[in-house]
Every structure is written in structure tokens, then in C-alpha cells.
């Protein structure tokens, strides 16, 4: 039994290719692959533009030779020590957020659901702000004795906050079906609990802002909008490690998403343990959100919108994981570029740009789709 075949079938509006070798088969959609390749190219272009742009514009030739270490000393230094890590953080944070949003939306089957809405981003904000205010008296980010401490402590605070928030949302949002039945998640309830937790955490963040002195409050306010200013290699390794660990888990569990998409009872009959898969996927998504916030602060709207854009581009019935991650990267790269170039002499926080662009887009999506649920 060593049959090989490639079959193209129409599934709804789109084309599906099935490759089979023996009993193993791989399904993929040519359109999804093409869109993902195009998105990857876009990310590459934005990546180079992100390195080229700045107070000193570096020509594309020099960008490439600077990356390879063959340009003059200043260019190599600028490219490799300052701009490259920043752009890398943008790519990784975008990918983490896009993937996290895709997982949460796929599990809850709810287009509003994203770590932002579920209160996890707000939890990360609270954790980061509390640490920032505790260490804020020192010259954070610009050298100084405790700078290194707060470079580590703020991300840890953000991750801890994200996990506390996630734990609350999952514990309270979960419901026991009855005697002997396993714990499952009503997606409505999770979203509801998330919105409530979001409001509570943001209230506490505001309280934190009011208690510090104005310098600390300014630093916290900048961090709170999400900023890539002064990001170095230590931020890159943080997000990269998280992605390396969580991405394989996400892709493995992601295979079960198709079963979940049929509805929880059907998935259960197919032998998928619904609750365990849901918890696993939520945990991966919230881990990604926490690390992203640790590296760049809470950048809003990417996790919410990237999967929707990717879904529209690929026209798949489910939520495309890889395309969502690539869309997220492209969004953060583009937003950071815009944040640096929009007002000469002023660097806006990247999260302000994602919100200023993302919110109207979401509005347009909702208005265009009208009252569809």
C-alpha cells in the first residue's frame, strides 16, 4: 500500500489539494499557500524598509551589506545593534500576536474574541505597570544601576499579569456540565468574563498611573501604548524563545481545530478531548500574548485583526494559523514604520498606530457585514 496521489477538490468556494502517501494525507489550499508566500514577501520588504528608515536613512545596498557585516563600521553598528533587533522584535511580536489571536478566535469561534478582549492583554498591562512603578524611580532604559533589573522585571511582570488574568478567565469562564461530565468552556461565558476582567484590570492600571509621580506615569503611559523604542537583542531572544517553544505546540494542537470547528459535541464524538484541547490552545495563545507584551508593551488590535485579515485574504473556512502570524508581523512592521515617519521629530508609540489604523478598519468590517452574527 504505497499509493501516492494528489487530488484537487472543490470545497465550498475554494480549491483544496490533498496529497496522500499511504495512509498519511496532507490537505492544503493552493490559495492559502500563495497568500502566505505573498505575505512573507511583504514582511521581508517591510523588514528591510524598517532597517533603512530612521534619522539617518540607509540605502538598500548598505542595508544588505550591513546585515552581512561588509559595510563600514558605523553602518554595521547602526544596522546590527540598533535597527535589526528593533525590527526583529516587531516581526516576532507581530507573529506572536497574530498567532495568539488566530488560536483564540478559532477556539471560541467568535471573531471578537482575542487576548485583548479576554482581559489577558490588560492583565499584562497591569503587571508591567506595577513593576514599572516599583522600579520607575531609576533611569529605566537609559543605563543606570537598576536598568537591567527593570529590563528583566517589567517583562516578568507582564507575563505574570497575563497568566494571572488568563487563570481567572479560564477558571471562572469554565463551567461544569453536570455530574461525571468533564469541564468544558462555554465560549460566550469566556468572552463575557474576559470583558469584565478587562474593565477591572484597566481600572487598576489607571489607579497605578495616578499613584506614581509624573515621570513614572509618563514612562508607564508610553509602555502602556506599546512601544518598540530602544528594543535590543535581549528582547529578541525572549520572544524568539517563546515562539520556538509554543509554535510547534500550536501547530500540533491546531490540527484538532478543524474538529472543534464542527461544534463541541461533534468534536467529542470524533475522539477529540474538547476541554483539554481548548485549555491547551488558550494556554499557548496567552503565553504568546504575555511574551509579546513583555517585549513591546501591550500592542492592541493586532491579535484581533490579523486573523480576520488573513481569513479574508485566504478565504478559508477556518482560521489560517500561518497566514495570521505573517499578517501580524506585517502589521506591526508597518505600524512601527508609520510611527517613526508620520510626524517628523516625534516617535509615536507603535500601539497608538495599530489602534488608530486598526479601530477604523474593524469599524468598517462591522458596518460592511451589517447585522450578521
Amino acid at each position: 500500500m504505497n499509493t501516492r496521489e494528489a487530488v484537487f477538490v472543490r470545497s465550498g468556494p475554494s480549491l483544496v489539494a490533498r496529497f496522500r502517501r499511504g495512509s498519511a494525507s496532507v490537505l492544503f489550499r493552493p490559495r492559502t499557500v500563495a497568500v502566505s508566500l505573498a505575505l512573507f514577501t511583504l514582511v521581508l520588504v517591510l523588514f528591510c524598509a524598517g532597517i533603512a528608515a530612521g534619522t539617518r536613512v540607509i540605502p538598500l545596498d548598505d542595508v544588505l551589506s550591513g546585515l552581512a557585516g561588509r559595510a563600514d563600521h558605523t553602518t554595521v553598528l547602526t544596522v546590527q545593534q540598533f535597527r535589526l533587533p528593533r525590527v526583529m522584535v516587531a516581526v516576532l511580536v507581530g507573529a506572536a500576536l497574530g498567532l495568539a489571536g488566530a488560536l483564540v478566535q478559532a477556539v471560541t469561534r467568535n471573531p471578537i474574541a482575542a487576548p485583548d478582549v479576554l482581559g489577558v492583554t490588560a492583565g499584562a498591562s497591569l503587571g508591567g505597570v506595577l513593576v514599572l512603578l516599583a522600579f520607575g524611580g531609576t533611569t529605566f532604559g537609559y543605563g543606570g544601576a537598576a536598568a537591567e533589573l527593570s529590563q528583566i522585571a517589567v517583562p516578568m511582570g507582564a507575563i505574570a499579569g497575563a497568566f494571572v488574568a488568563a487563570a481567572i478567565v479560564l477558571v471562572v469562564g469554565g463551567s461544569r456540565g453536570g455530574v461525571g461530565t468533564p469541564r468544558t468552556f462555554s465560549t460566550h461565558r469566556v468572552v463575557l468574563v474576559g470583558i469584565i476582567c478587562h474593565a477591572a484590570f484597566i481600572g487598576l492600571v489607571h489607579w497605578g498611573l495616578a499613584t506614581g509621580d509624573v515621570d513614572q506615569a509618563t514612562k508607564a503611559a508610553v509602555w502602556l501604548v506599546g512601544s518598540l523604542h530602544g528594543r535590543g537583542w535581549e528582547h529578541v531572544t525572549g520572544v524568539a524563545t517563546a515562539l520556538l517553544v509554543l509554535l510547534p505546540i500550536a501547530l500540533t494542537l491546531g490540527r484538532r481545530l478543524n474538529a472543534l470547528a464542527l461544534g463541541e459535541p461533534s468534536a467529542a464524538t470524533l475522539g477529540v478531548s474538547v476541554a483539554r484541547t481548548q485549555v491547551g490552545l488558550f494556554a499557548v495563545a496567552f503565553g504568546l500574548t504575555g511574551t509579546a507584551a513583555a517585549a513591546a508593551g501591550p500592542v492592541d488590535f493586532v491579535a484581533l485583526l490579523a486573523p480576520q485579515i488573513a481569513k479574508r485574504l485566504t478565504r478559508t473556512p477556518g482560521v489560517p494559523l500561518v497566514a495570521s502570524a505573517l499578517t501580524g508581523s506585517a502589521m506591526v512592521l508597518a505600524a512601527d514604520l508609520l510611527a517613526r515617519l508620520a510626524i517628523p521629530g516625534v516617535e509615536l508609540p507603535v500601539g497608538a498606530v495599530t489602534a488608530l489604523v486598526g479601530a477604523p478598519y474593524l469599524l468598517w468590517l462591522v458596518i460592511r457585514s451589517g447585522g450578521t452574527r
Binding site: H188, A199, A210, A217
Partner: protein, 340 residues
């Protein structure tokens, strides 16, 4: 309560008396609890004669305006939430969700950033305009689609509009440290340090808003049965929506201008009130006013006590108490209700 009583009207009237007593007790606490605790007889004595004693000065100049402001803001938020839920027929709708609070906040920040406005009367006018513009925009955009106003699209529109406004606010605030410094104190939601001047501006506006909403009660009752039924009953749906919408804008923007964005009161209070009164707005709205007032004054008192000698702002207390309360209610109820 679900058990039908023989005479629900009498039961509700007795209940209203109980809620009024609750409010009176919380006001008494509001006047007597603080960094210097006063006994009830001290308070009563100070209330009887407005003299030069310490107790008299504390009660009349500090705690009385603060407590009355708490009563008015709490009533405004409770009724505003009940109206917002009534118009949208969405149990999650509170003034924050439909963007009214963030519209008022944006107007206040813009006023401070562009014109340097920091006195209350123009701030309230600005806040009302901002609340009306943004709230109206959210409601009309959410209802623009073919399918009418689905709860999901309302939540999405409100969410994205609020996020947009918060982004604009944070850019403005980052460009100007002075605005940030004013904004962050206002942001937490506090009743402290707002003296009699605030009260004189706020009182007529909120009282007007509250009486306006009583006119909307019957229309909202009809609307609760669905738009078609309401039209069949001869109720002008648009008039009811307009009256109630004006009420939401007036009450919320004044409350937000006076005390900052205080979360959860507008969401929780109408649910508690509805559990007592049932869906009739004629009873629901007064109950929401009384319960909202009691809740906010209690939260203010709690904030004064828990971290003595410092104070926890009332907005922080409502977030800390309100969130677990809502979560508990959700946990008890078997169904999550109509979520987004």
C-alpha cells in the same frame, strides 16, 4: 424575585422603602466615616446647627458635598446603565460599552489640550457633546447594517470606537505632560476634593436627566417586546429611543465629567434592580437610581477605610468589588446569558 406575589405593586413599594432606608444608612456612613470618625450624634448635631465646631465644618464643607455628589453620580450611572440596556436590549450594554464614557473623556482631554479648559461647567458641556457624538455614532453605525442592531455588532462597534478614542487620547497625553498629569487623576474616578461648586453645577443637570428618563419608561417597556410589537402598540419607537438616548448622554457625561469614568456601576446596578423589580421600567429606573447611589456612596466609604490613612479612589473600589460581584453572578447563573 421569581416567585409571583399576590400584589407585586405593594411588594415593590415596600421594597422601595427598604432601598431608601439603605440609601439613608449609607449616607449616614458617608457623613460619619473618615480620617476623623464622627459619631452619629456628632453628625446629627452638626446637621442641626451649621456652626463653627470642627464636626460642623467637616460635615458641611467636606463630607456633605462629597456624599451628595456620590448619590447623584451613582444614581446617574445606575439609570444610565438601565437606559442603555433598555434601548439596545443588550444586557451587556453599559455606557462604557457604547462609547459614551470614552466620548466624554476625549472631549475633556481635548478641552484641556487645545483650550486649557479645567473648570467644571465648560467641561460638562464638552463632555455632553463628546458623549452625544460618540454614543450616537456607535448606535447608528451598529444599526446601519441590513440585519438591524445585533448585540455582537454593537459590542464590536463600541469596542473599536473606544479603542480608537483611547489611542487618540494617549497620543495627546504623550505630547503634553501637563494634560497627562491632569488626565491621570481624573481617570481613576474619584469623589474626593470636589467641593460644593461641583455639586451646584452637577445637581440640576442630573436631576433634569433623571426626570427626562421617567418619560421614556413606557416607551422602553414597549420596545422590550420588540420593535414590531412596539409599533403595533402605537408607541413611537424612535421617540422612545431618542428620549432614552438623551437621558443616557446627559446622565453619563455629567457623571463622567464630575467624577471620572467609574466602571461597573452602570453594568451591575440595572441587573440587581431588574432582579427585584422585573422588567417594567417604571419601577426599574427608580430602583436603579437608589441602588446606584447606595453602591457608589458605599464604595466611597470603603475606599476611605481600607487603606487608612491613604484613600482608594471610588473608581478603583467599584472595579475591585464590581468585577468579582459580576463574576459571582455569572457563576451562579447556569446560562451565561446573551453574550456577544
Amino acid at each position: 424575585m421569581p416567585t409571583p406575589s399576590n400584589s407585586p405593586q405593594i411588594r415593590l413599594a415596600v421594597g422601595a422603602l427598604a432601598v431608601l432606608t439603605l440609601l439613608a444608612v449609607t449616607i449616614a456612613f458617608g457623613l460619619s466615616v473618615g480620617s476623623r470618625a464622627l459619631s452619629l450624634s456628632d453628625v446629627l448635631g452638626a446637621l442641626a446647627v451649621q456652626g463653627e465646631t470642627d464636626a460642623s465644618i467637616i460635615v458641611w464643607e467636606q463630607r456633605m458635598p462629597r456624599t451628595l455628589l456620590g448619590v447623584l453620580v451613582g444614581a446617574a450611572l445606575g439609570v444610565g446603565g438601565a437606559l442603555a440596556q433598555g434601548i439596545t436590549r443588550n444586557p451587556l450594554a453599559d455606557p462604557a460599552l457604547i462609547g459614551v464614557s470614552s466620548g466624554a473623556a476625549l472631549a475633556i482631554v481635548l478641552g484641556s489640550f487645545v483650550f486649557g479648559v479645567s473648570s467644571l461647567a465648560p467641561q460638562i458641556v464638552l463632555a455632553a457633546v463628546g458623549a452625544a457624538v460618540v454614543g450616537g455614532a456607535v448606535l447608528s453605525l451598529a444599526g446601519y447594517g441590513r440585519g438591524g442592531m445585533a448585540p455582537t455588532s454593537l459590542a464590536l462597534v463600541g469596542l473599536s470606537m473606544s479603542a480608537l478614542i483611547v489611542a487618540v487620547i494617549s497620543v495627546l497625553v504623550l505630547l503634553d505632560a501637563q494634560t497627562l498629569d491632569e488626565y491621570r487623576y481624573w481617570l481613576v474616578g474619584a469623589l474626593a476634593g470636589k467641593g460644593t461648586p461641583t455639586l451646584t453645577v452637577v445637581t440640576p443637570v442630573i436631576l433634569a436627566g433623571l426626570s427626562l428618563t421617567l418619560l421614556a419608561a413606557r416607551g422602553l417597556d414597549a420596545l422590550a417586546l420588540g420593535e414590531d410589537v412596539a409599533r403595533g402598540l402605537g408607541v413611537s419607537v424612535n421617540r422612545a429611543r431618542l428620549l432614552a438616548g438623551a437621558g443616557v448622554v446627559l446622565l453619563t457625561s455629567t457623571a463622567v465629567a464630575a467624577a471620572g469614568p467609574i466602571s461597573f456601576v452602570g453594568l451591575v446596578v440595572p441587573h440587581v434592580a431588574r432582579a427585584i423589580t422585573g422588567p417594567r421600567h417604571g419601577w426599574l429606573l427608580p430602583y436603579a437610581a437608589l441602588l446606584g447611589a447606595s453602591l457608589l456612596v458605599t464604595a466611597d466609604v470603603v475606599g476611605r477605610v481600607v487603606v487608612r490613612p491613604a484613600e482608594l479612589q471610588v473608581g478603583v473600589v467599584t472595579a475591585l468589588v464590581g468585577a468579582p460581584l459580576v463574576l459571582l453572578l455569572l457563576r451562579k447563573s447556569k446560562v451565561a446569558g446573551a453574550g456577544p
